[in-house]
């Protein structure tokens, strides 16, 4: 069964791993100043931490009961469609001269819409 305490501990651990890998990769990049494939591999090292975060989130979802999953489904649907519409619209705007959107900006948008979606769904089923 889903436990917010257990989920918090697991998510904190995964985020700590991400932070450690990010700091380590940045430090190694400054010290070693690698080039080519090695530089790319070092830049991608923190992704291992994000995989741990994703795995933690998926494990949390599998432990949820049916209403909690329904709430997450509603929130993810809002996040998915909202992000799709926003990025698609921005793509058209880029053709008209708007600045290019970096891939880094997509996830925060998705996360904000996810949180908004959870709040709306929880209010709906309250």
């Amino acid at each position: 069964m889903f436990s917010i305490k257990r989920y918090g501990v697991e998510l904190s651990g995964a985020l700590a791993l991400y932070a450690a890998l990010l700091l380590g990769a940045n430090a190694a990049d400054r010290l070693l100043q690698p080039e080519g494939a090695m530089k790319i591999a070092l830049a991608l090292l923190p992704i291992l931490g994000t995989v741990a975060v994703a795995w933690t989130v998926l494990r949390g979802l599998r432990r949820m009961d049916e209403l909690q999953r329904r709430i997450q489904f509603d929130a993810i649907a809002l996040s998915f469609t909202g992000t799709a519409l926003a990025t698609f619209a921005w793509g058209f705007a880029e053709d008209a001269g708007a600045p290019e959107l970096r891939a880094f900006h997509v996830w925060p948008l998705m996360a904000v819409l996810w949180v908004v979606g959870v709040c709306i769904a929880q209010w709906r089923y309250r």
Binding site: M1, F2, D65, E66, L67, Q68, R70, Q122, R124, Y125, R126
Partner: protein
């Protein structure tokens, strides 16, 4: 769908948390079912009926 979950639960002196623990669901789920905000799946409805020792028809009404 209407239901008598709250009436049956309170008649037995159980809290929402206690019923949630027996059903292995969150307290929010019990609360949403009692308020009619959420209709449980058939497996959960059977679990509720089994926990109360009643039939589904005695708990849920169309």
């Amino acid at each position: 769908m209407r239901n008598a979950v709250k009436d049956i639960r309170t008649a037995r002196g159980w809290s929402q948390s206690e019923l949630a623990e027996r059903l292995q669901v969150s307290r929010q789920t019990v609360n949403s079912i009692e308020n009619g905000r959420y209709d449980p799946s058939l497996p959960l409805a059977f679990a509720i009926a089994r926990t109360f020792g009643l039939t589904i028809e005695q708990i849920f009404f169309p």
